[in-house]
Amino acid sequence: MSILFSNFHEAQRIGDGPALASCLAPVNSVSDPKRLWSFSQLSNYQTVEADIRYHVIQDRNAVKLPKQEANQWVQIFVCLWKCIKELASIESGRGGDWNTAYKVYKDLCNNLIRGYQSFNFPAWSVPCMYTAGKYLRILAIKADAEAAHAASNGNGFAAGMTDDIADTSEKNEKLQDAARTLQLMVAACRTDDSDLSESRKWGVISVANLLFKTYFKINNLALTKHVIAMLESPGTNLPPLEAFPKAQRCTYSYYRGVLEFLKENYAAAEGHLSDALSICHQNATRNREQILTYLIPAHMLTSQQLPNRALLSQLPALERLFLPLCTAIKSGELSAFDKALSDAEVELVNRRIYLTLERSRDLCMRNLFRKVFLNAWDETKDPATGEVIGKSRRTRIRVSEFEYGIRAAYKDAAEPIVVDRDEVECFVANMIYKGYMRGYISREHAICVLSKKNDAFPGTGT
């Protein structure tokens, strides 16, 4: 157990932030698999404060800390001890519950925050915030799981004073609570006016990432606005994003990108996600996959380009999802597209990209209409002989031709498509409106007049 404290003192001596942070982690480590148990054996509830005070302050190997700081560390370790005691009980199967462990760890976090705000904890120790935040989150998730398990019978009743019968309070109570604590941490990191080389601001991105993760888990994305405002508003004087460690930058850009994506700002999303992708480590397959899951649909919608096979083949999961869709889009086969979309629907919905990919049906239809256009020739006949001497593209396409095109696209489908002339006109109208086609419709003549200037289908070269 005293290993922990000797680590603590060593870290304090040399000013090693990460080492100090690892003291606060309530887990067994590889080098010390019985860490939890041995630490919990150190003391008991009655004498814990005195014992820890001895180890932190009075031990002869102890590094000399300013009095208030040392006291605060004592408090922190007391909380840590209580939490570890609880965890050790859970580990050995003898009672103990995650709820208590969470509560005590939260006290630890609050003490840590207070340490920074009031008791001048040094800025190099800011990795502690991240570690504490990380484990707080994990404990909160476990506590919520425990609560959900315990309350799975008849929990629907609202207690007492409400008018309505079902209890609509959240089932992620602890996690929401943790989110509030994390937000305090971000604020504590941010509001440090000392010189940048000695500032807590360097911890802000890592804790913000934790906060994003938490908000995603509780599915309350509205709150992310505040975090972003806190970090990106002009008055905050944070160091530029590029100065932070790569890992933190990558995660941060990823979350920003996903948030923009969900708000349908595909251009901005693409920007952030590309940044994330470029920083992301080559071998971090899972991370690359996650980034690309959002980047590919965003790019498809902004630039109408499809991912190529080389890219997809690197990541089999994505290949499975996107390849059938992309093939169908390229060839303009609407029925194949619909089928591919409905096959992958469940997974796409889970990743929140279904509604976006649905829109790429426009691309598919555009390609289909383009095929119709490419096959519509005017034959120029020699006035004298009546022979066909050349062909030129028609730019006046009858709506009925588009209709046949659509029917043809569905000829392999299980059920024949039901589409009437007016609906086809509506499709063509949408194409023109959205800029996939350039021209106009004349209802009287039931034809669509396309641009002659080789950009009837902008972006495709015809």
Binding site: M161, D163, A166, Y354, C426, Y433, R443
Partner: protein, 539 residues
């Protein structure tokens, strides 16, 4: 007990605590058997309990509780008797450990002392700590699904039959969009009037309702009665409470503020006793009084009455108020069955009809939880409404969640299929399909679609304006955009400032009206419409 000698009671009984002589002589301030005169107003709202107890003189001896009170606290005789009873051998309950009982006792008494309620609780009638603990355990073991004793299992579905999908028993079946649309515009104006009526009815009602609301002075303070009626009320309350030995209602002693009752009163299901069918809605600020809570069989009669009244009168303010009080009664009695689902569904439908999306959304949220418990009702119908509601509020995340929860059986239902088709038509801009779907929505989907039909028409007109050249017949617009008549279509265009665009044309012996295209009028109008979505104050 009530010693006539005038010596402090605790001294004469010899409790063995320090019997220090006190500087002041205990004096009884009130005759224990005084008449039931109303108290001086400053004692509102706990005036009358004093007459039932001996007020003890200031003293410092504490009862058997182990906490050494540092302040001088008076312990009324009744408290002491209560404590005695707790420790008496006869009243021990086997499963309850003594330490637990002592701890609870200590909590109860310190709590009462803190609130200065030592004299106001009916200690004689209060549950002993061990009884409280046993109660709570029982309740927890039953998982709070213990139904109140007067619960009657619902009859086999005769109610749902009258709600076969497609017909709405509360309204005349909507024959087509035209009746709906006409009803809607007049409904909208009625809604504005009703907003005034949704003020608490007691403000407008005559004083007759006061006597109905006697034992709840938290309501009394809201109704601001004159001094005479408050005296009358307090007298009646006093009489009732004196003879009322039921611990529950006795412990519901009137409180000014919304503090929950002391630990003596567990917040379990209330068993209602009220027999009146109608009841105005008041928000709960204290534990409910069973005399004002209607039991299930009464509520069923109430529902029938309300359905009739709605059909005959159509007074939304009144109906909404009554339904909310019904929901409240169901909640406090923990009644969760098909009847509850039914009540919420009917209220939701009525709210939809009146365009009250706030109230509708509340019911919808509750229904979601109720359906999860398989209590019957029409989950697919309301699932379809949810989808349409998310379309209206442009709630992408909500829509995504709904899609992720859809099951295969859900997708088979007609209502859900329709709603999903609406969604995908709108996602792709397929206005042709969308308006076709608008003409024939199942159940009451038309009301929801009416919420966003305006902005979708603007979107369609924006497309048409950009794509068709040089002009387009008005008839086309009428048909494509599901207007009933050319006149209505023209009116819509004019409403958005397009009167210049309309022109009468004679061509080939055929005269028609056409609208000029190629302008940005509808594009701008559409952008304005989509940028602000009013969710009427309820998420």
């Amino acid at each position: 007990m009530y010693s006539a000698s005038g010596a402090p009671p605790w001294l004469s009984n010899g409790y063995g605590h320090h019997t220090a002589q006190h500087a002041y002589i205990p004096v009884q301030t009130r005759n224990p058997y005084a008449s039931s005169l109303p108290p001086p107003p400053t004692y509102i709202p706990q005036p009358l309990n004093h007459t039932l107890r001996t007020p003890s003189a200031p003293g410092t001896s504490s009862p058997a509780s182990s906490d050494s009170a540092k302040q001088k606290v008076e312990w009324p005789q009744t408290v002491r008797d209560y404590v005695n009873r707790c420790f008496a051998a006869e009243t021990q309950i086997p499963g309850v450990a003594r330490e637990e009982m002592e701890k609870r006792l200590k909590d109860v008494i310190t709590d009462a002392a803190k609130r200065n309620m030592l004299y106001t609780y009916q200690w004689d009638a209060m549950l002993l700590p061990q009884q409280m603990i046993a109660e709570e355990r029982k309740r927890a073991a039953l998982g709070l699904q213990a139904l109140p004793p007067n619960f009657v299992p619902p009859p086999p579905p005769q109610l749902p039959l009258s709600y076969a999908p497609g017909t709405n028993p509360v309204l005349p079946a909507h024959s087509g969009s035209e009746t709906l649309r006409k009803r809607k515009s007049s409904e909208m104006s009625v809604d504005m009037d009703n907003n005034n009526q949704s003020q608490p009815p007691w403000r407008t009602k005559k004083g007759g309702s006061l006597e109905d609301r006697m034992s709840a002075p938290d309501k009394r303070q809201r109704t601001e009665p004159g001094p005479t009626s408050s005296k009358l009320n307090s007298t009646l309350e006093h009489r009732r409470r004196r003879f009322d030995l039921d611990g529950r209602s006795g412990s519901n002693s009137p409180r000014k503020h919304a503090s929950p009752p002391a630990p003596a009163e567990p917040l379990g299901p209330v068993i209602g006793r009220c027999q009146k069918l109608e009841k105005n809605y008041f928000r709960l600020t204290a534990a409910p009084n069973p005399d004002h809570v209607r039991p299930l069989d009464i509520l069923k009669q109430t529902l029938d009455l309300l359905k009739k009244k709605w059909k005959e009168q159509g007074n939304y303010g009144y109906i909404c108020d009554q339904f909310k009080s019904m929901r409240q009664d169901l909640t406090v009695q923990h009644i969760k069955n098909e009847f509850t689902t039914n009540v919420y569904e009917i209220h939701a439908r009525i709210a939809l009809e009146k365009g009250d999306l706030g109230e509708y959304n509340q019911c919808q949220t509750q229904l979601k939880t109720l359906y999860a418990q398989n209590l019957g009702g029409h989950p697919t119908e309301f699932l379809a409404y949810r989808i349409l509601y998310f379309i209206y509020t442009c709630n992408r995340t909500g829509m995504n969640d709904v899609l992720s929860e859809l099951t295969q059986t859900d997708r088979q239902s007609k209502a859900v299929k329709h709603a999903l088709a609406v969604r995908s038509a709108l996602a792709l801009g397929n206005y042709h399909q969308f308006f076709k779907l608008y003409l024939d929505p199942p159940n009451m989907g038309a009301y929801l679609m009416d919420m966003f039909i305006g902005r979708e028409r603007l979107a369609a007109l924006a497309t048409i304006s950009k794509v068709y050249k040089p002009a387009i017949k008005l008839r086309f617009i009428t048909e494509e955009l599901a207007f009933e008549t050319d006149a209505e279509a023209a009116q819509f265009i004019v409403d958005h400032g397009g009167q210049e665009l309309l022109k009468e044309v004679k061509k080939d012996g055929d005269d028609f009206v056409q609208m000029a295209t190629g302008n940005r009028l509808f594009e701008d109008a559409k952008n304005a419409a989509f940028s602000s979505v009013d969710i009427k104050g309820q998420i």
